[in-house]
C-alpha cells in the first residue's frame, strides 16, 4: 500500500477531531494501554499476533456495556478520503461495544485502508456476498444538532480514536 491513502486518512480523521495512533503488532499492547480509560470493554481482534489485555472485558453485561468508558473493536477497513472506519459487527459484539462506550477505539490494519468510497463499496458488496450481516461506515463520533446546537455524543460514542496497525 502506498503512503498516500494513509496520509489522506490521517488528515481526514484530523478534520473530524479523531486521533490516528500508529503502532505495530509488537508495540500494540503498549500503544493501546494509555488509550484505555476504565472500565473498558472490547470484542476480540482478528489480527495475527494482537490481542486485548485482561482489563478489557470482552463479555460484558448490558450494565457494564452502558458504563464503559472505552470500547475497543476491530474495523474491517478504513476509507481514507472520508476518515471513516467500517465496523463489521457480528456475534462477538463489536456493534454494541463500538456504540455504548464513551469512546470507541477502532483498530484497523494498514493494508485495509482503502482510498475512497468506490473501493469501499467493492469490498462491502463482496462481504455482503460472503455473509457479513452488518457493515457500519462510522465517521467521527455520534452527533446531533436536534437540541438547538451541535453536540458530539448523541446515542453513540462522544469520541473516536483510530489505531493503525502498520505492516498488518
Amino acid at each position: 500500500m502506498s503512503a498516500e491513502p494513509i496520509a489522506t486518512f490521517e488528515s481526514a480523521l484530523d478534520e473530524l477531531g479523531v486521533d490516528l495512533v500508529r503502532t505495530t503488532t509488537d508495540e500494540f499492547a503498549s500503544t493501546l494501554e494509555p488509550l484505555l480509560d476504565a472500565p473498558a470493554v472490547g470484542s476480540p481482534l482478528p489480527f495475527t499476533g494482537v490481542s486485548l489485555p485482561e482489563n478489557v472485558d470482552t463479555d460484558p453485561t448490558v450494565a457494564e456495556l452502558d458504563a464503559a468508558a472505552t470500547g475497543v473493536t476491530a474495523a474491517g477497513y478504513g476509507i481514507a478520503d472520508y476518515g471513516s472506519v467500517v465496523v463489521q459487527g457480528g456475534a462477538d459484539g463489536a456493534e454494541p461495544v463500538s456504540l455504548y462506550a464513551d469512546e470507541h477505539v477502532a483498530v484497523v490494519a494498514e493494508s485495509d485502508v482503502l482510498p475512497d468510497m468506490d473501493a469501499a463499496f467493492d469490498r462491502i458488496a463482496a462481504d455482503v456476498g460472503n455473509g457479513t450481516s452488518q457493515s457500519i461506515i462510522a465517521t467521527g463520533p455520534s452527533a446531533t444538532a436536534d437540541m438547538g446546537a451541535l453536540v458530539e455524543g448523541a446515542h453513540g460514542p462522544m469520541a473516536v480514536t483510530v489505531v493503525l496497525l502498520e505492516g498488518a
Binding site: 463479555d59 460484558p60 453485561t61 448490558v62 450494565a63 456495556l65 452502558d66 472520508y82 471513516s84 459487527g89 457480528g90 456475534a91 459484539g93 463489536a94 456493534e95 454494541p96 456504540l99 468510497m117 468506490d118 469501499a120 463499496f121 467493492d122 462491502i124 458488496a125 455482503v128 456476498g129 457479513t132 450481516s133 452488518q134 457493515s135 457500519i136 461506515i137 462510522a138 465517521t139 467521527g140 463520533p141 455520534s142 452527533a143 446531533t144 444538532a145 436536534d146 437540541m147 438547538g148 446546537a149 451541535l150 453536540v151 455524543g153 448523541a154 446515542h155 453513540g156 460514542p157
Partner: protein, 726 residues
C-alpha cells in the same frame, strides 16, 4: 380579502412569528454546508447523473426488484410484506408488534402511515429515539422538515418542554444537558424494548440489504438491542445492487445537512447477527426476526404517471427545502402537507395523500428554480409543482369572475382561481394598461382600486402596482429603427421584448438597444409576445404552451438566419432554456436554446471577442451592489454581469440570498405578501450592511427590482442602465 386568503395570511404570519427565526437559522446552516460540501467533490455532477440513472432504472424495473428483494430477504431468513395502503400497512405492523414495546428510529414513511397512532391504539408502547422525533413526540407536534423534524424549535423551547414534562432534579438548559438527558431516558426504553422499528434510505434488491443514514447512533441501537427488527420503507427505496449505493452515500449527507457523510451509514443485511439484550445480558441473535414492510400507498400509481414519476427518484435529502427562500423563512408547517415538506413535497403529497393535501401549500413554490441544481437526482422540482398546480386549477369548481374573464384570453378551464388568472394573463392586462396610460396608472393608484383589487382578486394593497408606459418598447423601436447597418454589424440580434420591458420598464429596453449598438450589434425588436412564464407560474400550462409557440414563431426567423436572441428578463430566458423543452417540439426548443442569451452574458461574449469596453460607460470605480436573479443563477449566468461591470470599471459586491421573495406575482398576492417581504428583508439587509449601504443597487430581474424598490430607499436599476452612455 377572501376568507381563505385571510386564513392563509394569518397562518403564515403566525408561523413567521413563532417558528421563522429557528427555521431560518437552521436551514441556513444546512444550505451553506451543502454548497461547501458539494464544492469539495471533484465529480459532483457525474455522481448526480449516476444517482439519477440508478433511480430511473430502479423505478422502471420496480416490480421485478420487489420480487427479487422478496427472494433475497426470505433466503436470509426474513419476511417481506408489500402493503397496498396505510390501513394495510398499519394492520400488518400491529400484528407483527403484537402489543410489545417498540423503539423507533426516524422514518418519514411511518409518519405518512401514522404508524405510532395505530400501534398506540393496539396497546403497544412506542418510543421515538431520534432526538428530534422524541421532542416532537413529547410536544405532540408534526415534523417541520423531512431530515431535521424539530428544526422549528429553539434550544430554549426544548429545555422548557423537557423541564415541564420530566421535572428533572436540576433544570436542563444547554444542548449538551438536553442530549445527555434524552440519551439516558431513551437508553432505558431501548434496553427494555422488544421491537426495533427503522426506516430505510435504500434497499438493495440483490441482497436484501438496508442502508440507514444516521448521525445519532439510535438506529444502530434499536436494531441491535431488540430481537425483532421491522423496517418500513416505500417501494421506491429499492435499488438493484449493493454497489449502486455508493453515489447515494456520497451525496445524501452533503445534499441534506451539508455533511460530507453522516456519522453512521449502516449497511445491514437482516436479520443481523449482533447479540441482543436479554435480561441484562448480551444474548445470542439466532432468534432475531426481520420483517421488511414495503409501502405502495400510491407509489405504483405515481410510477405510471409521467409527471409524478420523477418524485419517486427523491432520496429525501431536504436540499430542495434548505435551498428554498420561502421554506427558509416559514418552514415545513406552512410549506408542507400532511407529512412531507419542501419543494418535492408537492409530488409526494399529491401521490400519497392526494391533490388536496398538495393544494394547501403548493403555491409556496414560486418556481424560482434554486432547488433544481441542488437535487442530487436532478429532479425538476418546480415543474412538478407547476403540473400539480395545473391539476389543482382544473380540478376545482368554477369560481368564475367576469372581471377577470374579460381580461383573460387564456386556454384554461373555468375553475382557475381569478387571482391566478389575472397574473397568468399579465400580458393582456399590460396591453390595456399601456393603451390607457397614464389614466390607467392614475386609476390603479387610487385607494378605491386598491381595495377592489384586494377584495376581489387578492392583490395586496400594500404593493405598488406597475406603472404602464404609453409607448411600448416595440413602438419606440419601430419609430426609431435600427442604427447599425447590416454591413458593419459585428452580430445581428433580436432583442426579446418581455412584457415588463415592453410595457413597464421600457427604459431598460432602450438602454439595452443602445449598449448593444455601441458594440456594433445590429438590433431589432420583434413584437414577440409573453414567454409563458406568467401563466406557467400560475399552473396554467396550456396557456404557457400557446404563448411559447407564439414566441417561437416570432423569433424563428432570427434563429433561422443564424442571428442571436438577446433576453433582458432572466425568468424569460429561463423559459427558453428550461421549460420550453417541455412546451415546444424538440427541434424548436434546441434552436432557440442554442441561440438565446442573457443580455449581460451576450455583452460579455462581445467583449471577449474583440468589442471594446471603451464604447460603454466608464464605471470610474462607482460602488455597486448587485443582486442576480434566482433563475439566472440556476443557469450559472450571474458571473457574466459581474465580469462586465468590473470590466467597465465598477466596484461590485453581490448578494447571496436564494431569492428576493417577490418571484413574479407571488409578492403581490395578499395571502403571501408578508412572507414575501420577510424573504425580501434578508436581501435588503445585505444591501443595508456597512459595505453596501452607499452602493448603487442593481438587479437583473424585474421582480427583484420591484422588491428592492419597495424595501430600500435607493432606487435600483437593471445593470445595463449603468453601461448605457446616455
Amino acid at each position: 380579502m377572501r376568507a381563505d386568503r385571510r386564513r392563509k395570511a394569518d397562518r403564515i404570519r403566525h408561523l413567521l412569528d413563532t417558528e421563522g427565526a429557528a427555521v431560518h437559522q437552521n436551514t441556513q446552516v444546512f444550505n451553506e454546508g451543502r454548497y461547501e460540501s458539494t464544492a469539495a467533490l471533484d465529480d459532483y455532477e457525474a455522481l448526480k447523473a449516476e444517482a439519477r440513472a440508478i433511480k430511473e432504472d430502479a423505478i422502471e424495473r420496480l416490480p421485478e426488484l420487489v420480487e427479487q428483494v422478496t427472494e433475497a430477504v426470505e433466503a436470509n431468513g426474513g419476511t417481506v410484506y408489500v402493503a397496498d395502503d396505510a390501513a394495510d400497512a398499519t394492520r400488518y405492523l400491529s400484528d407483527v408488534v403484537d402489543g410489545r414495546s417498540v423503539v423507533k428510529s426516524k422514518s418519514m414513511t411511518t409518519e405518512e402511515l401514522d404508524v405510532n397512532d395505530s400501534l398506540d391504539a393496539s396497546g403497544a408502547e412506542v418510543w421515538e429515539t431520534d432526538l428530534a422525533e422524541f421532542v416532537l413526540q413529547i410536544a405532540d407536534e408534526a415534523p417541520s422538515h423531512i431530515v431535521a423534524p424539530a428544526i422549528h424549535k429553539s434550544r430554549e423551547e426544548i429545555a422548557t418542554l423537557f423541564n415541564e414534562v420530566f421535572e428533572p432534579a436540576e433544570p436542563l438548559s444547554t444542548a449538551e444537558e438536553l442530549t445527555r438527558f434524552a440519551r439516558g431516558y431513551l437508553g432505558e426504553k431501548i434496553r427494555d424494548a422488544e421491537v426495533g422499528m427503522t426506516g430505510a434510505n435504500f434497499i438493495t434488491a440483490d441482497t436484501g440489504s438496508l442502508a440507514l443514514v444516521t448521525s445519532e447512533g439510535n438506529a444502530r441501537k434499536c436494531v441491535q438491542a431488540t430481537d425483532t427488527h421491522v423496517a418500513v420503507a416505500g417501494v421506491e427505496k429499492l435499488v438493484p445492487s449493493v454497489e449502486d449505493l455508493q453515489p447515494f452515500v456520497e451525496l445524501i449527507g452533503r445534499s441534506g445537512t451539508g455533511q460530507d457523510i453522516t456519522s453512521y451509514v449502516s449497511l445491514l443485511t437482516p436479520p443481523v447477527d449482533s447479540p441482543t439484550f436479554d435480561d441484562g445480558e448480551l444474548g445470542p441473535a439466532a432468534d432475531r426476526e426481520f420483517h421488511l414492510v414495503l409501502i405502495d400507498n400510491g407509489r405504483m400509481a405515481m410510477r405510471e404517471d409521467d409527471q409524478l414519476r420523477e418524485t419517486l427518484y427523491c432520496i429525501r435529502c431536504s436540499a430542495c427545502a434548505n435551498s428554498c427562500a420561502n421554506f427558509q423563512h416559514v418552514g415545513g408547517h406552512a410549506f408542507g402537507g400532511e407529512t412531507y415538506s419542501g419543494g418535492i413535497a408537492t409530488g409526494w403529497e399529491a401521490g400519497v395523500h392526494g391533490q388536496d393535501s398538495a393544494a394547501e401549500f403548493n403555491d409556496l413554490c414560486t418556481g424560482c428554480s434554486r432547488c433544481v441544481n441542488q437535487c442530487p437526482v436532478n429532479i425538476d422540482i418546480p415543474w412538478i409543482n407547476t403540473v400539480v398546480r395545473d391539476r389543482i386549477n382544473r380540478g376545482s369548481d368554477g369560481d368564475f369572475d367576469f372581471l377577470v374573464e374579460g381580461l383573460t384570453p387564456d386556454s384554461e378551464p373555468g375553475g382557475v382561481d381569478p387571482q391566478k388568472r389575472l397574473f397568468g394573463n399579465f400580458d393582456a392586462l399590460a396591453k390595456l394598461g399601456s393603451a390607457f396610460a397614464p389614466l390607467s396608472n392614475w386609476v390603479a393608484r387610487t385607494d378605491t382600486a386598491g381595495a377592489l383589487l384586494e377584495r376581489t382578486l387578492g392583490v395586496d394593497r400594500r404593493r405598488e402596482l406597475p406603472e404602464f408606459e404609453r409607448e411600448t418598447l416595440v413602438e419606440w423601436f419601430e419609430r426609431r429603427g435600427p442604427r447599425v447597418s447590416r454591413d458593419t454589424a459585428r452580430r445581428q440580434v433580436a432583442l426579446y421584448p418581455d412584457v415588463y420591458t415592453n410595457y413597464v420598464r421600457t427604459e431598460r429596453g432602450k438602454a439595452a438597444v443602445r449598449v448593444l449598438e455601441a458594440l456594433d450589434v445590429r438590433v431589432t425588436v420583434p413584437a414577440a409576445g409573453e414567454s409563458g412564464r406568467a401563466p406557467l407560474s400560475q399552473g396554467m400550462v396550456a396557456t404557457a404552451q400557446s404563448n411559447a409557440e407564439a414566441v417561437f414563431d416570432a423569433l424563428a426567423p432570427t434563429v433561422a438566419a443564424g442571428h442571436d436572441v438577446v433576453v433582458i428578463e432572466p425568468s424569460d430566458l429561463a423559459m427558453f432554456h428550461r421549460e420550453y423543452e417541455r412546451l415546444l417540439p424538440t427541434d424548436d426548443y434546441t434552436a432557440l436554446n442554442e441561440h438565446s442569451y442573457e443580455l449581460l452574458e451576450y455583452v460579455y461574449g462581445l467583449l471577449e471577442n474583440g468589442a471594446s469596453a471603451d464604447a460603454l460607460a466608464d464605471g470610474d470605480d462607482e460602488r455597486v451592489a448587485y443582486h442576480s436573479h434566482c433563475q439566472q443563477r440556476t443557469l450559472d449566468l450571474e458571473p457574466y454581469t459581474v465580469a462586465v461591470l468590473e470590466d467597465c470599471g465598477f466596484d461590485v459586491t453581490t448578494s447571496d440570498v436564494e431569492c428576493c421573495g417577490m418571484a413574479g406575482s407571488f409578492g403581490y398576492k395578499a395571502e403571501y405578501y408578508e412572507l414575501s417581504v420577510d424573504v425580501g428583508e434578508s436581501l435588503a439587509d445585505q444591501f443595508r450592511a456597512d459595505d453596501a449601504a452607499d452602493r448603487t443597487v442593481v438587479a437583473s430581474g424585474t421582480s427583484c427590482l420591484e422588491q428592492l424598490d419597495a424595501l430600500l430607499t435607493r432606487r435600483p436599476a437593471h445593470p445595463v442602465r449603468l453601461l448605457d452612455r446616455q
